[in-house]
């Protein structure tokens, strides 16, 4: 459904020195700065797939989505979404996609959501019966039927986001871009949005690309992950794969009974010691030596509880994003 080939985008901005003199100078001469936002990106997304697009701020996630939604033109490369070049903005293409932006309201601020939705029904030419059925379903699942007639500006952030989701999906898009859909929401609202996205995916099978800084979004919703660093794709694969590829160790945590005495020296030959006190030992142990380390801990210390965990995905991604060159597993 989405095919991206060597897609690149550079932006030209102007640098302005701070202060009054900088402002005066910029009236006559401005220094041009070329920023590479996305570089040679290639990937595909299939029907019913939710792909997590992650990266630090400025990594190029939103720029990539904007190109695939047809909002901006690429500098080079090509992309086909449902067979269309997005930036040519064919109406047949635009009727089949949706972009949900957590940081940008799309609904008419001064009108009740119901009015905006009616407008969108007309904009997308949705037949009456289909509109009614879709709206009933979306409002019921998102639990906002009672808020449809309240002006959008008076809704809570969570309710507004739910309305944004309805507005984006009321025409039944086959491709959905979700740009930080849970940003700023409380935990309950985040969970509700995630559950809804999963349910919607099950029922409608659209291709979805999701960007988020919340790892829980990515872990709950995406089986596949694309990691962007400074505009380049540095990883494209399964969520489990990124852990296996980039985390060469697991975290072994032992909680001790009060009467234990712990020697740091003895622990260092089992793995890297992250924490060590009278009640807790936390080690980073190479994958191949986890069983041996666990057995050693149980033998040597009065262990009350033992946990063996993968490194948090957020930590791995953060490490990849920080690294300048090739990230060694």
């Amino acid at each position: 459904m989405i095919e991206v080939t060597s897609l690149s985008k550079t932006f030209t901005t102007h640098r302005k020195d701070p202060g009054l003199w900088g402002s005066v100078r910029s009236l006559f001469k401005r220094e041009k700065v070329i920023k590479r936002a996305v570089h040679e990106s290639t990937f595909q997304v299939g029907e019913g797939e939710i792909v997590g697009l992650v990266g630090a701020n400025g990594a190029g996630k939103t720029t990539l989505i904007k190109m695939l939604a047809g909002i901006i033109h690429p500098t080079s490369g090509d992309a086909r979404v449902l067979g269309f070049r997005p930036w040519e903005r064919d109406n047949k293409f635009r009727r089949q996609i949706a972009l949900i932006m957590g940081q940008k309201a799309q609904l008419w601020w001064d009108l009740p959501a119901a009015d905006s939705l009616l407008l969108l029904k007309e904009i997308y030419g949705v037949p009456d019966d289909r509109y009614r059925a879709t709206l009933d379903y979306l409002a019921r699942v998102l639990d906002v039927a009672g808020q449809l007639t309240i002006p959008v500006r008076r809704l809570s952030l969570g309710e507004r986001m739910k309305m944004e989701l309805i507005a984006a999906l009321v025409h039944g898009p086959r491709v959905v871009y979700l740009d930080e859909p849970t940003i700023g929401l409380d935990l309950t609202a985040q969970r509700a949005i995630r559950d809804f996205i999963l349910a919607y995916r099950e029922q409608n099978r659209p291709a979805m690309i999701l960007t988020s800084h919340y790892m829980e979004d990515i872990e709950r919703l995406c089986k596949r992950l694309i990691i962007l660093r400074e505009g380049e794709i540095v990883y494209d694969g399964s969520l489990a794969g990124v852990v296996e590829k980039y985390a060469d160790h697991k975290v072994v945590t032992a909680h001790l009974r009060k009467d234990g005495s712990v020697s740091r020296e003895g622990l260092e030959r089992l793995g890297q010691v992250d924490a060590c006190d009278d009640v807790t030992i936390r080690l980073r142990v190479p994958r191949g030596r986890v069983a041996e380390a666990a057995a050693e801990l149980l033998k040597r210390y009065p262990v009350a509880d033992l946990a063996i965990e993968e490194v948090e995905i957020g930590t791995i991604i953060e490490r990849i994003q920080r690294a300048k060159g090739e990230v060694k597993p």
């Binding site: 932006f11 939103t62 904007k66 939604a69 047809g70 909002i71 901006i72 033109h73 903005r89 109406n91 047949k92 635009r94 009727r95 996609i97 949706a98 972009l99 932006m101 940081q103 940008k104 799309q106 008419w108 001064d110 009108l111 009015d115 905006s116 009616l118 407008l119 007309e122 904009i123 997308y124 030419g125 002006p151 740009d179």
Partner: protein
């Protein structure tokens, strides 16, 4: 664009405008009543100061009605604050949502401008109704003139949109087009007959003004309405105004095409 969509866009803008009741009535009072009072004092000062009974083909009463008409027509033609709407969309990234919709952006904005005319018309109806009672029936105002005036206002509204649209699209390249809009507003007011009737200009200047689009924004609809134009003059004026609409529409399309190529979707 389908009829249902046009209707919904139009009424959505009307509802949006009317959702701020206090602002609706305050703007009605401030922009109409105050300007009418200012017009009254200006006309009084001009005629009393010059000591002449007729200035630029208008006596004091006719001049006052000219100002009344040009204020009311101006409100319909300019449709309040939508003049900055396009540049704001570009500057703040609001354009993004319109680029996603399968409808032409320019047409959506124009229909919104028409929608903004609805509340303006209500304000005009409320505040203009008492004018004949207070100042008498304007000389030259006939049903035929009113009909010609309404058609001229419709053309002027479209012309105003098509003039401001390409200027606002400069926001694709410049961060702020406010100064360009101020220049346009000033040029329109001076050369379009909002500051003073165009009959105050010399014959040769008037000839030039008739060829430029500004006259067709304010002076032409007002002169049509007040019966100062013959049907033939009105027909020629409509043709010139619509001709400018065509030229500006082509210009707007070209600038839009180049501009959207530049668009970076700021704010998201």
């Amino acid at each position: 664009m389908r009829g249902g969509l046009l209707r919904d866009l139009l009424t959505a803008e009307i509802r949006r405008r009317m959702s701020y009741r206090a602002d609706f009535w305050i703007s009605a009072v401030s922009s109409l009543a105050v300007r009418l009072a200012v017009a009254w004092f200006i006309v009084k000062a001009v005629f009393e100061g010059s000591g002449r009974p007729v200035v630029g083909g208008y006596d004091a009463t006719q001049m006052f009605f000219y100002y009344v008409a040009v204020i009311l027509v101006g409100k319909l033609v300019q449709s309040t604050d939508l003049e900055q709407s396009v540049s704001q969309d570009i500057y703040e990234g609001g354009l993004t949502r319109y680029l996603l919709y399968p409808v032409p952006y320019g047409l959506v904005k124009y229909v919104q401008q028409l929608g903004a005319m609805g509340p303006a018309a209500v304000q005009i109806a409320v505040f203009a109704a008492w004018i004949p009672l207070a100042f008498g029936w304007p000389q030259g105002l006939t049903p035929g003139g009113v009909a010609m005036g309404i058609a001229a206002i419709a053309m002027a509204n479209l012309l105003h949109f098509l003039m401001t649209f390409p200027i606002q699209l400069v926001s694709f390249w410049a961060d702020n087009v406010w100064s360009l809009m101020v220049m346009h507003r000033f040029a329109s007011a001076l050369l379009g007959g909002m500051l003073a009737p165009l009959t105050l200009f010399s014959d040769s200047t008037r000839l030039v003004l008739e060829a430029l689009p500004f006259r067709y924004l304010f002076a032409f609809p007002v002169e049509s309405m007040l019966g100062r134009l013959s049907p033939a003059q009105w027909a020629v004026g409509m043709l010139v105004g619509l001709g400018w609409c065509g030229v500006l529409s082509i210009l707007g399309r070209a600038v839009w095409r180049r501009g959207t190529f530049q668009y970076t979707g700021v704010g998201i």
